[in-house]
C-alpha cells in the first residue's frame, strides 16, 4: 500500500502541534473535544502528502490508521460502487481503528495532505479522558442521525398510491 510514500512536489512546511489542533477542531469527530486534549492527540498525529492513486486504507490491511484529510480529495469504493468523495475535514478509518471490519477502499483522487494516527494512540486518547470519549460518541451520534435522516424518506410509503 502506498500510503506513506512522500510526495516530491513542493510542499508547505510541516504543521506545528497547535496548527494541527486548530485544524482538528474543524473535524466533526473532534469538534467537541477540549482543545488541550486535542493537542495531545495532535502531537501524536503524523502529517503526510499523497499523490493521486495512492491507496490509504483498504480491506484486510494490517496498516490501519485513523485519517483526517487536510486538503485534496479521497474517493471511497465498496464492492465496485463509488461512494461520495471525501474532502478537507473528513475523517475515515475510525471503524477499522476500533477493530471493526473495514469494507471500503480509500484512494487519493487528487494530491492530498493528511493527518493520521495509529489505533493504539487514538484509543489511548479516548482512555485518557472521558471528555474525549463523550465528544467522539456525540460525533458518532450526529453521524448516525444524519444517516437516519437520509434513510427516512426511503421508508415512507409512496405518496398518491391510491388513484381511485
Amino acid at each position: 500500500m502506498g500510503a506513506r510514500a512522500p510526495v516530491t512536489m513542493d510542499t508547505p512546511a510541516q504543521l506545528t502541534t497547535v496548527e494541527k489542533a486548530a485544524f482538528l477542531i474543524e473535524v466533526d469527530l473532534f469538534r467537541d473535544v477540549p482543545s488541550e486534549l486535542l493537542s495531545e492527540l495532535a502531537g501524536r498525529m503524523e502529517e503526510e502528502w499523497h499523490q493521486p492513486g495512492d491507496v490509504l486504507l483498504e480491506p484486510d490491511s494490517e496498516d490501519v490508521r485513523l485519517w483526517v484529510l487536510l486538503s485534496g480529495s479521497v474517493t471511497a469504493t465498496h464492492g465496485g460502487k463509488t461512494l461520495p468523495a471525501l474532502t478537507r475535514g473528513d475523517a475515515f478509518g475510525l471503524l477499522a481503528s476500533l477493530g471493526l471490519p473495514q469494507h471500503e477502499t480509500y484512494t487519493a483522487a487528487q494530491a492530498c495532505r493528511t493527518l493520521s494516527v495509529a489505533p493504539d494512540e487514538y484509543l489511548d486518547a479516548i482512555a485518557d479522558s472521558t471528555a474525549f470519549a463523550i465528544a467522539n460518541l456525540r460525533a458518532l451520534g450526529r453521524s448516525l442521525q444524519a444517516r437516519e435522516r437520509i434513510r427516512m424518506p426511503e421508508a415512507d410509503p409512496p405518496a398518491g398510491g391510491d388513484t381511485r
Binding site: V18, A22, D124
Partner: protein, 833 residues
C-alpha cells in the same frame, strides 16, 4: 382583585437571571421583533386583565354588600359549600361549551355569557329578596375564578416564553390597577347612584372584555395575535382534571405536601374572610354604607398589593422564596393574635386586608416557586388542582369549622381569632415541611429536564428493608434475578451475601456460579518482599504485558491479584498504555488497599507523567475504599486541572454511593474560593478576547472558555463534597445547559440549597455578572503567554508568533515550562521573527 398570573412573573425572574449570565458567553441575541405587534399584544392583554379584575372586584363588592345587608353572615359557611357545588357543575359545562374553540374565543364567550347573566342578576336584585342575594353570592363565587383562570389560559397561549418575560409584569400590573380603579369607582358610584347599578357596570366591563377579545380574534386572522403564540400551551379551557390531579398526588410525596399547604392556606383564608364579614356586619347593615366600605377596602388592598408586588423582586432576591412564603401566614397570625388580645373590629379588618393584599402579590409569587419542581402536564394539573378543588376544599373545611363553632355557640370574635391562629400555625408548619422538601424535589425535576424521556428515578428507600426480598429473589428461576439479588445483597450486607452465595456455587447457570464464586473468594494478604528489586516476578509480568497476547497478559495479572503482589505496581504503572491499559487499571483496582499508599505516592509525585497520574486517580476512585479515597486528597492544588477534576470525580462518586468520606469543610471552602477566582478570571479574559477573536486567537479564546468551564466544574465538584452530591452535579449540568429555563432551574436549586454565605459568594459569579470592557488584545495575549496554564501559554505564544510581535523574544527568553508542545511553538514563533 386577583392576580393569578404572577406564577409567570416568578419564572420570568428566574429565567431573566439565567439569561443575564449566559448572554455574554453564548452571544445570545434577540431576533428581530415586530415592536408594534409586541406593544399591541401587551396593551391588549393588559386592558383585558384590567377589565376582568375590575369586573370581578365590582361583582364581589355587590355580592358582599347585598349579602351582608339582607341576610345574616352565618349563611356564609353554607354558601361556601354551595359555591363548591356550583363550581363543580359550571366547570365541565364551560369546558364542554368551549372545547372546540381557541383560547381567545373561549374567553370571549365566557366573558360575554357571564356578563349577560349579570344583567339578569341586576334585575333580580331589584326585587330586594333575600334569595337573590344568596344566589348572586353563589354565582359570583363560581364564575369569577373561572373567568380569571380563562384569562390566564389565554395569556399562556398568546405568549411564548420570551414574550412572557417581556410582558407578564405589565399584564399583572394592569390587573392590580383594575382592582384599585374598581374600588374607587365603587365608592364614588354608590354615593351618586345605587349599588345595584354597579352590577350593570360589571356586566358592561365583562362585555367590553369579551368584545375586545373577539376583536383580537379578527386581527389574528390576518397574522399573529392573541391565543396564537404558544403552540405547546395547555388546552383552551380550564377543565377540572380531577383524576389527573389525584394521580399526581398519589405518586409524589412533594405534591401531597404542596396540596396540604394549599388546603390549609385556603382554610385560613376562609376563616379570615368570615371574621371580616362578621365584623363588617356588626358595624352596619346599610347597603350603601357597606358598599362604600367594601370599595375603600378593595382600594386599600389593591394599593397594598401593588406596593408588595413592587417590593417582591427585592425581597425575593434578599430572602428567597421559602422565607417569603411565610410572610402571609405570619401577618395573618399577628393580626389574629391581636384579635385574641383585643377582640375588636380592626384586627379582623387588618387580617383580611393583609391576607387579600399579600395573597395576590408577594405570597402568590413566593408560592409559585413551589410549583417549579413539577414539569409539563403535572404542573398544569397541580396548578388547576390548587386553584380549583384544593382551594375550594380548604374553604369548605373553613365552613365546617365555622358551622361547628356556631353550633357550639362559640362563633364570637375571640373564638374566631383563636381558630385563625390555630389554622395559621398548621399552615406555617406545613410550609416549613414543604420548604425542606423543595430543594430535593427541584433537583429531581432538573434531572428529568436534563434527560428527557428518562424513566423517573427510583425513590430512595431504606435498602435494609429489602434484604428479605433479595434473599427470596435468590431462589428465582431466572439467573439474571439471582445475580442482581446477589449484587444488591453484597452492597447492603456482605457477610449475608457470602453466606447466601455458598449454596449457589452448585447452581446450574454458569453466570450464577461465577458470581457466587466471586463472593466466596477469600481476600489474601500481600506477602512482604525484602526490596522491590528482589521481586522475581517483575520480568515475567513485564514480558507478558508487552507480549501482545491478551490471554497471557490476563493470566499474569490474575496471578498478581491472587498473590496480592504490591511490588508489581511499578511494572503495572509502566504498562498503562495500548491494549493492556484497561487490564492494568483493573488489576490495580483489584489489588485494592494493599497498593493504595503506593498509588497515592505516585499521584502526588509531579515527576510522574501526567497520563499515568490521571490513570492512578481513576484507579483510586474505582477502588472507592476509605484508604484509596484518602489518597485522592493528595493531589496538589498546583496539579493540572484535569487531574484535580479526576480526583474530585472519584471522591464525588464515593459520596454518591454513600461511602463514608472524611471531608474537611474549611479546606474545601478555601479551594472553592480559589476555583471561583479562577472562573471569574478566565471568563473575564475570554470575554475580552471573544469580542473580536480573529482566526489567530480563536483557539486561545476557546481554550479560555474551556478553562472557565473547567473551573466551574471543579467548583461544583467541591460543592458536591459538602452538599448533596448527586443533586449538586445535576445543578452543574443545568448551569452548563444552553437552555435558559434549565439554567434558571439550576440557579433556583442553588438558591434553595446553599448556605447564605456560599450563596452570596457563588451565585453572582454563576449568574455571570456584567461584561468586562475590552482591553488591548495584544497586551492580554502577552500576559497569557506567561500564564501558569501551559496550554493557554502555548496558544498565546502561537498568537504572538502569528503577529510577529517583538515582545515574543522577552517572553520566550524565560519560558514558563519545558513542555514539548510549548517549546515547539516557541521555536516556531521565534523563527517567524
Amino acid at each position: 382583585m386577583q392576580v393569578p398570573g404572577v406564577e409567570q412573573a416568578s419564572l420570568d425572574l428566574l429565567a431573566h437571571r439565567a439569561r443575564v449570565g449566559c448572554r455574554r458567553y453564548d452571544g445570545l441575541m434577540d431576533g428581530p421583533t415586530d415592536e408594534n405587534r409586541e406593544w399591541r399584544m401587551r396593551w391588549s392583554l393588559g386592558t383585558l386583565h384590567f377589565l376582568v379584575i375590575a369586573a370581578f372586584t365590582w361583582a364581589r363588592i355587590v355580592r358582599d354588600g347585598a349579602l351582608l345587608s339582607r341576610v345574616s353572615v352565618e349563611w356564609v359557611p353554607w354558601l361556601t359549600a354551595a359555591v363548591l357545588v356550583a363550581t363543580g357543575v359550571a366547570t365541565p359545562l364551560i369546558a364542554r361549551a368551549t372545547r372546540h374553540l381557541t383560547a381567545v374565543r373561549a374567553f370571549a364567550r365566557v366573558a360575554i355569557a357571564t356578563g349577560v347573566s349579570l344583567l339578569v342578576w341586576e334585575l333580580l336584585l331589584r326585587t330586594k329578596s333575600e334569595w337573590s342575594a344568596l344566589a348572586l353570592y353563589v354565582w359570583v363565587g363560581a364564575y369569577g375564578p373561572l373567568l380569571v383562570a380563562q384569562f390566564w389560559i389565554l395569556v399562556h397561549q398568546s405568549l411564548d416564553a420570551e414574550q412572557a418575560r417581556a410582558h407578564i409584569g405589565w399584564v399583572g400590573a394592569c390587573g392590580i390597577l383594575g382592582g384599585v380603579a374598581s374600588g374607587l369607582v365603587a365608592t364614588l358610584v354608590t354615593r351618586a347612584v345605587g349599588r345595584d347599578d354597579l352590577l350593570g357596570l360589571t356586566a358592561l366591563a365583562q362585555l367590553g372584555a369579551g368584545a375586545l377579545a373577539l376583536g383580537q380574534t379578527a386581527l389574528a386572522a390576518n397574522g399573529p395575535g392573541l391565543g396564537t403564540g404558544n403552540r405547546d400551551a395547555a388546552p383552551a379551557v380550564a377543565n377540572g382534571g380531577g383524576r389527573r390531579a389525584r394521580t399526581v398526588l398519589r405518586e409524589a410525596g412533594y405534591a401531597r405536601l404542596l396540596a396540604l399547604v394549599v388546603v390549609l392556606g385556603a382554610l385560613t383564608g376562609g376563616l379570615v374572610d368570615y371574621q371580616f364579614k362578621a365584623a363588617l356586619q356588626r358595624q352596619s347593615t346599610d347597603a350603601a354604607e357597606l358598599t362604600r366600605w367594601l370599595g375603600l377596602f378593595n382600594v386599600a388592598a389593591s394599593g397594598l398589593a401593588l406596593c408588595a408586588q413592587i417590593a417582591t423582586g427585592m425581597l425575593l432576591a434578599r430572602f428567597g422564596s421559602r422565607a417569603l412564603a411565610f410572610v402571609l401566614p405570619a401577618g395573618v397570625m399577628a393580626s389574629a393574635s391581636a384579635g385574641l388580645a383585643l377582640p375588636m373590629v380592626w384586627p379582623a379588618v387588618l387580617a383580611r386586608l393583609w391576607e387579600t393584599a399579600a395573597r395576590h402579590s408577594l405570597a402568590r409569587t413566593a408560592n409559585e416557586f413551589f410549583f417549579l419542581p413539577f414539569q409539563g402536564a403535572p404542573r398544569s394539573t397541580m396548578k388547576h388542582a390548587a386553584e380549583g378543588f384544593l382551594t375550594r376544599g380548604g374553604e369548605v373545611g373553613a365552613s365546617m369549622i365555622l358551622v361547628g363553632l356556631s353550633l357550639a355557640g362559640r362563633a364570637d370574635p375571640w373564638h374566631l381569632s383563636l381558630a385563625v391562629v390555630v389554622a395559621c400555625a398548621g399552615w406555617m408548619a406545613s410550609l416549613g415541611w414543604l420548604g425542606r422538601a423543595y430543594a430535593p424535589a427541584l433537583s429531581r425535576s432538573l434531572d428529568a429536564l436534563l434527560r428527557p424521556g428518562r424513566t423517573p428515578p427510583t425513590p430512595v428507600v431504606d435498602r435494609g428493608v429489602a434484604i428479605p426480598e433479595l434473599v427470596k429473589l435468590l431462589r428465582s428461576r431466572d439467573p439474571r434475578h439471582i445475580v442482581f439479588a446477589l449484587d444488591e445483597l453484597s452492597a447492603i450486607d456482605p457477610a449475608r451475601a457470602r453466606q447466601e452465595a455458598r449454596p449457589l456455587l452448585a447452581h446450574e447457570a454458569s453466570a450464577v456460579r461465577a458470581r457466587a464464586r466471586r463472593e466466596n473468594t477469600p481476600h489474601r494478604h500481600a506477602r512482604v518482599a525484602a526490596t522491590l528489586d528482589s521481586w522475581p516476578g517483575a520480568g515475567a509480568l513485564h514480558t507478558a504485558l508487552r507480549s501482545g497476547d491478551a490471554a497471557r497478559a490476563t493470566a499474569a495479572c490474575v496471578e498478581v491479584v491472587a498473590a496480592r503482589e504490591r511490588h508489581a505496581v511499578p511494572v503495572l504503572l509502566s504498562s498503562l498504555t495500548g491494549d493492556v491499559r484497561d487490564l492494568v487499571r483493573n488489576t490495580l483496582v483489584q489489588l485494592g488497599d494493599d497498593v493504595a499508599g503506593t498509588l497515592g505516592d505516585t499521584l502526588a509525585d509531579e515527576r510522574v507523567p501526567l497520563r499515568v497520574r490521571r490513570d492512578v486517580a481513576i484507579v483510586l476512585g474505582r477502588m472507592a475504599t476509605q484508604a484509596a479515597l484518602a489518597q485522592l486528597w493528595r493531589v496538589p492544588r498546583t496539579a493540572p486541572r484535569g487531574l484535580r477534576l479526576l480526583a474530585l470525580r472519584g471522591l464525588g462518586a464515593a459520596r454518591k454511593a454513600a461511602i463514608p468520606l472524611a471531608v474537611d469543610e474549611s479546606d474545601v471552602r478555601r479551594d472553592l474560593h480559589l476555583d471561583l477566582q479562577q472562573l471569574e478570571r478566565r471568563r473575564e479574559q475570554a470575554s475580552q478576547l471573544g469580542a473580536d477573536a480573529g482566526p489567530e486567537i480563536g483557539l486561545l479564546a476557546r481554550a479560555l472558555d474551556e478553562a472557565a468551564a473547567s473551573a466551574r466544574e471543579l467548583l461544583f465538584r467541591r460543592l458536591a463534597l459538602i452538599y448533596p452530591a448527586r443533586e449538586m452535579m445535576r445543578a452543574h449540568r443545568g448551569i452548563s445547559s444552553g437552555d435558559d429555563r434549565i439554567r434558571a432551574f439550576a440557579l433556583e436549586y442553588l438558591e434553595a440549597t446553599l448556605t447564605p454565605v456560599d450563596r452570596d459568594r457563588l451565585l453572582p459569579a454563576l449568574r455571570g455578572g456584567e461584561a468586562t470592557p475590552p482591553a488591548s488584545t495584544q497586551s492580554l495575549v502577552e500576559t497569557l503567554a506567561m500564564d501558569q496554564d501551559v496550554w493557554i501559554a502555548t496558544l498565546a505564544v502561537h498568537a504572538l508568533g502569528t503577529w510577529r510581535a517583538a515582545s515574543l523574544r522577552a517572553i520566550v527568553a524565560a519560558p514558563v515550562t519545558q513542555d514539548a508542545i510549548y517549546q515547539e511553538t516557541a521555536r516556531w514563533a521565534l523563527a517567524r521573527l
